[in-house]
């Protein structure tokens, strides 16, 4: 059955067009993210001209500018970009794998699990940053495992997983509040970040593990993007298409939990970023290919944008988590209403 090339082109054209859209929108997202990064470096109590910022970053001694740019703004920007990216990627993977926008680390309490471990290390054990990071990762993984066993029942159900996750989140958040209330006066400032994420006081030394893990795991996850798209078709279809589903699911979950935990350990739980990034990316890019990269970029953009608003839009400076919380809550309500109408809840 030979066909005219014109007909092949017809199918190819549509698919190519969607791929071009993916590339185009993703490039735009990269440009926006870079623009926001620049804004993070330029803006502050003093607005330095571009050439001063450049010279300061190149290592030139400029009194005043050095401290503001290299010590305050650069770590803040880097932490924001990488944490946002990690939140976005991990959220997208969970939502896609479980085929439900509510099923993301934020709402399932995985972020809270990481936070509990981190707060405990800071407030009670007074450990180093490295230990806090490792504890946060373990806290996230333990939360996932507990949730898996609690929601197993007779057969696995995503609905039950989500409800149990929401319950666990409430419980874990209560533990965080308790730890903070019991903490010594001088620790409260550091511990408060765990109630709503913040980029205040970001340090380069704290950003390094985050940056490293994001750089290690992003390529792995991007390569697995195709397999993730197959998992979206359901367990049986994915298996028959040649995906080793169990292995793939475990790899994806562990990688995402590591990303979400290290981001949480660095900035605290920046509300709703992992929840919003995936659906926004899908809406912008379309759903033909894997949207891991666009979701990460949207996550980074959300964090930077919200942080700039938090810093400069109001009389008081709000931590970034407050702003993302305000942005995310209406979407959560909209989603619940929509799912309820469709009978998915």
């Amino acid at each position: 059955m030979r066909k005219q090339t014109g007909e092949v082109n017809f199918i190819m054209e549509g698919m190519r067009q969607r791929r071009r859209r993916w590339l185009f929108v993703t490039s735009i997202l990269v440009i926006i993210a870079i623009g926001l990064c620049c804004a993070m470096l330029l803006l502050g109590n003093t607005i330095y001209p571009v050439n001063v910022v450049m010279r300061s970053l190149m290592g030139e001694e400029i009194t005043g500018a050095n401290f503001a740019i290299n010590t305050i703004r650069l770590p803040r920007m880097i932490t924001g970009v990488f944490a946002g990216f990690a939140f976005g990627v991990a959220g997208y993977i969970f939502q896609t794998m479980l085929r439900n926008p509510l099923a993301n680390p934020n709402i399932l309490g995985i972020t809270s699990g990481s936070s509990v471990a981190a707060v405990f290390c800071i407030v009670v054990l007074h450990t180093s940053n490295t230990v806090v990071s490792i504890a946060a990762i373990l806290g996230g993984l333990v939360t996932v495992i507990v949730m898996y066993f609690l929601s197993r029942g007779r057969s696995f159900s995503i609905g039950r997983l989500i409800i149990i996750g929401i319950g666990m989140q409430a419980m874990l958040d209560a533990v965080i509040s308790y730890l903070i209330l019991k903490s010594a006066q001088q620790d409260i400032a550091a511990a408060l970040r765990w109630l709503s994420g913040s980029l205040n006081g970001s340090k380069m030394t704290e950003a390094i593990p985050l940056v490293m893990l994001v750089i290690i795991f992003t390529p792995i996850l991007l390569v697995l993007g195709k397999q993730l798209s197959m998992l979206e078709l359901g367990e049986q279809m994915a298996t028959s298409l040649g995906v080793a589903t169990d292995k793939m699911r475990v790899t994806l979950i562990i990688s995402s939990v590591i990303l979400i935990a290290i981001a949480t350990a660095t900035t605290g739980p920046i509300a709703f970023v992992s929840f919003l990034a995936g659906p926004i990316a899908n809406r912008l890019v379309g759903v033909s290919a894997s949207n891991i990269l666009p979701a990460g970029l949207v996550g980074a953009i959300l964090v930077l944008f919200a942080d700039l608003i938090g810093q400069f839009a109001f009389e008081y400076r709000f931590p970034v988590g407050v702003i993302t919380g305000i942005l995310g809550a209406p979407y959560l309500i909209y989603l619940i209403i929509r799912m309820n109408r469709k009978g998915e809840l």
């Binding site: 066909k3 798209s229 049986q236 298409l241």
Partner: protein, 272 residues
């Protein structure tokens, strides 16, 4: 065109965690033929198909393709020979028809490779075959049940396997679409020699479209062979616990099962 794959099931015991459903089945799937597994609800026909497609791990016994256990094959290699269309596949939200059919190319693509000319051609060919080219850029949600089923089969075709399993491909479809789907699958079998195995509920359509019937009862194979040879009133009584009369199908001359209930029997003497 034909394929030479030997697919065998030996002494198969299978089921779910604490419930055995298949109690020792041996069979060999006829090459380049359409086989249909029939049986009452809950007899294990779907479990048998799933175990043969590697979705359920056998408790005992072997499922082999060309003498090698199917779980010993690298997953993608197996997926290039053997495809399965499950009973209720999940539609990702907002995906277009062409993109969904395109996912059938997954086992032919390597980790890093993009789309080759061959991939596009396979997608195009599959869509042409299932008559869904006009829907290429539509959202799946916009299609009717019958059209949607054609899209799923097109996706399985894009996978280009020599053996294709289908779990109740006609359930929930109007009679018109049932016949249409079965005709298309017959086309596929005649044109490419694809070995097809499916679970069907409608025994009369099974009798008409199958080259080979596997009759399953309580997890055991009770009969197999050509429909004309095996589909007797006795077998229907054994497998479905139903009294019936078997007459030749006026269209295809294959066995036609006329069920007998308690009511609406015009002539008492016709009772078995």
């Amino acid at each position: 065109m034909s394929n030479t794959h030997v697919f065998r099931v030996d002494n198969l015991v299978s089921g779910y965690e604490n419930k055995t459903i298949i109690h020792g089945i041996d069979l060999e799937i006829p090459r380049n033929k359409i086989s249909v597994i029939i049986g009452a609800n809950g007899c294990g026909k779907s479990t048998l198909l799933k175990t043969m497609a590697k979705l359920i791990k056998p408790t005992e016994g072997d499922v082999t393709l060309n003498g090698k256990a199917i779980n010993k094959y690298p997953p993608k290699q197996l997926a290039r020979i053997l495809g399965l269309l499950p009973q209720s596949p999940v539609v990702p939200e907002g995906i277009t028809v062409a993109d969904l059919v395109g996912r059938g190319r997954f086992p032919h693509q390597s980790l890093f490779s993009g789309w080759s000319k061959k991939d596009y051609e396979a997608v195009e060919e599959a869509m042409e075959f299932m008559n869904i080219k006009e829907f290429a850029d539509l959202d799946i949600d916009e299609l009717s049940g019958g059209q949607r089923q054609r899209v799923w089969i097109a996706m399985a075709l894009a996978q280009q396997t020599d053996i294709l399993f289908l779990d109740e491909p006609t359930t929930f479809l109007d009679i018109t679409y049932q016949v249409e789907i079965l005709d298309l699958l017959t086309n596929l079998n005649r044109k490419f020699g694809t070995t097809i195995v499916m679970v069907l509920h409608d025994i009369n359509l099974s009798a008409r479209y199958a080259d080979h019937i596997f009759a399953v009862k309580s997890g055991k194979l009770v009969a197999e062979g050509k429909p004309t040879d095996v589909l007797t009133a006795d077998l229907v009584k054994t497998v479905f616990d139903l009294n019936c009369v078997v007459i030749p199908d006026p269209i295809s001359d294959t066995p036609l099962i006329i069920p007998k209930g308690r009511y609406h029997v015009k002539d008492e003497s016709a009772t078995l």
